[in-house]
Amino acid sequence: MKILVLVKQVPDTATKIRLNPGDAAIQTDGIKWVINPYDEFAIEECLRLKEKHGGEVVVVSMGPARVEEAIRQALAMGADRAVHIVTDAVVDSQVAARALARVCQDEGYDLVVTGKQAVDDDQAQVGPLVAVELGLPQVTVVLKLEVDPDAHQIRAERELEGASEVVELSMPAVVTAQRGLNEPRYPTLPNIMKAKKKEVKSVPLESLGIDTDPWVVVEELTLPPERPAAKILTGEPEEAARELARLLHEEAKVI
């Protein structure tokens, strides 16, 4: 089975966002970059599928030169090789999906897996958009995945509000991973060494011959409004509780 896993590099979730007024992008100096947490679940699931059914796991990633670090990490987890679509451009989900889909087409695939969303722009679109580009069915926000490569069938459980649903679909397909799908492995030292020698093919974005004008443009980023300083209650628990209830009832008028 040939499995492609789409991986994005994002700022570590511990990053404090810094902006200058009028900025349309965050300040990136000093940021630690990591694999998008949901993509880690995707990578892990692909490796497990390979271990079970055999085949190959190819990482496809897009972005500037720094992205290679995320790619090497995915390779150290156990992926076989990678394609890096190289660009410094700011792209939207559609451009990213078009570029990724083009590489998927060139590679060939039985299954395409990625995270349910990237924790930087939180658009949650790339999986479904790649599916549309490739004319494939999709199942998103997956908690449980069963793949039958011989029957070309997938049975997946996806998360809903306070429930989940079982989706059945044919392969090839696009799957997006949710937390809970698995527990991603840590790369071992020997595998980190091995990953250094694995093939990473660089493909300039311009060479793909796709339209790279974004349709969704960020015009400005702002920080959330500061909350007024908190009213802090100390003292006996019963008294503090009474005062808190009073404030919520009379001042905030929320109960």
């Binding site: 930087d120 949650a124 958009l129 999709q138 079982v166 959330p224 007024p228 209650l233 919520l248 109960i255």
Partner: protein
């Protein structure tokens, strides 16, 4: 020129979620043209009256046998065909599990830009639509413009008010002429989780517990407060990882992003990933024994104290207030 807005919503047995009415309120503000609501599935026709009352000029209900079971590819094709034949300017989806699965698929088919999970959608000076949406799980907000001819948005539940306007809600008969046999991904079963949990992203009040609660069985102290308040329950990530509460409770940058009126953070330190998920709350109340916990900097009200003493006392006070009301 394309005009009017298509509001696409899920329904169950004739009932829609509140976010459907929130979308209609937004659409009415924006639309010089007609607001059309589109629903799917058995009982869809029963949503017409409510959708009209809250702002739909016309309602399309795809309740034929092809639409009994949700299919992302099948439903997306039906929506795209409807949007094209009505030639709408924009489409609105709910940013819930259903809408987030469907909207990007439709945007892909329509070759239209999509802004997900918007907290605000407005008409710009240049006549096009703009939106504000949280990024980095709410650590920042992006003002975005969509440059494709048709514009697609999904709206975060629980932010916009609903408005009763009593529009016609006239039934509009359409048929995209699709055959369910061509649908590739199909829902075959729905598994409800035990307890019928109040949905966090739609909850008005949330009581959330962290590692300070110390054990699974101690969550009953928080459940009692939630019960007194009529609140939903949530948690920090480590608590869900420990299995003290279901994974669906997990709030934060890698969990649910919530926007209740009041968020009670109990025994939660206030790590940046957790704060990211709650920044949309109107009021944050922190209960923590450590006066230096970062959560107090994010809160509107705070009690420094032992949660096992404060929370039961608070539940009692709330019940007393509610009894008097």
């Amino acid at each position: 020129m394309a005009e009017g807005i298509l509001v696409v919503t899920n329904q169950e047995e004739g009932r829609v979620r509140r976010v459907a009415y929130e979308m209609l309120a937004v659409a009415q503000e924006l639309a010089p043209g007609k607001v059309t609501a589109l629903t799917f599935g058995p009982g869809a026709e029963h949503t017409r009256e409510g959708l009209g009352r809250y702002g739909a000029d016309q309602v399309v209900a795809f309740n034929g046998s092809a639409y009994t079971r949700y299919s992302s590819d099948g439903f997306a094709e039906a929506v795209a065909k409807t949007a094209e034949s009505l030639d709408v300017e924009a489409l609105l989806f709910p940013a819930n599990a259903w809408g987030k699965d469907l909207a990007p698929r439709v945007a892909g088919l329509l070759k239209a830009g999509l802004a997900s999970d918007c907290t605000e959608i407005y008409r710009r000076d240049d006549g096009r639509l703009g939106a504000v949406r949280p990024v980095y799980a709410g650590k920042a907000f992006a003002r975005v413009a969509i440059q494709s001819p048709r514009q697609v948005f999904s709206l975060r539940p629980n932010i916009q008010a609903v408005k009763e306007t009593g529009r016609a809600g006239a039934a509009l008969d359409m048929d995209p002429g699709l055959d369910a046999a061509s649908f590739k991904a199909v829902v075959t079963e729905v598994l409800t989780s035990p307890g019928g949990q109040l949905e966090l992203t739609e909850a008005d009040i949330i009581v959330s517990g962290g590692r300070g609660v110390k054990a699974a069985e101690n969550f009953k102290v928080l459940e009692d407060l939630a019960d007194a308040l009529g609140a939903a329950m949530g948690s920090s990530r480590p608590v869900a990882d420990e299995g003290w509460v279901p994974h669906s409770y997990h709030i934060g940058q890698t969990g649910k992003v919530v926007s209740p009126t009041v968020y009670f953070a109990v025994g939660i330190s206030g790590a940046i990933q957790h704060l990211a998920g709650i920044s949309g709350s109107k009021y944050i109340v922190a209960i923590n024994s450590d006066a230096d916990a970062p959560i107090f900097k994010a809160a509107n009200y705070g009690v420094v104290g032992d949660l096992f003493k404060v929370v039961p006392a608070l539940a009692e006070e709330i019940r007393a207030i509610k009894k008097d009301a």
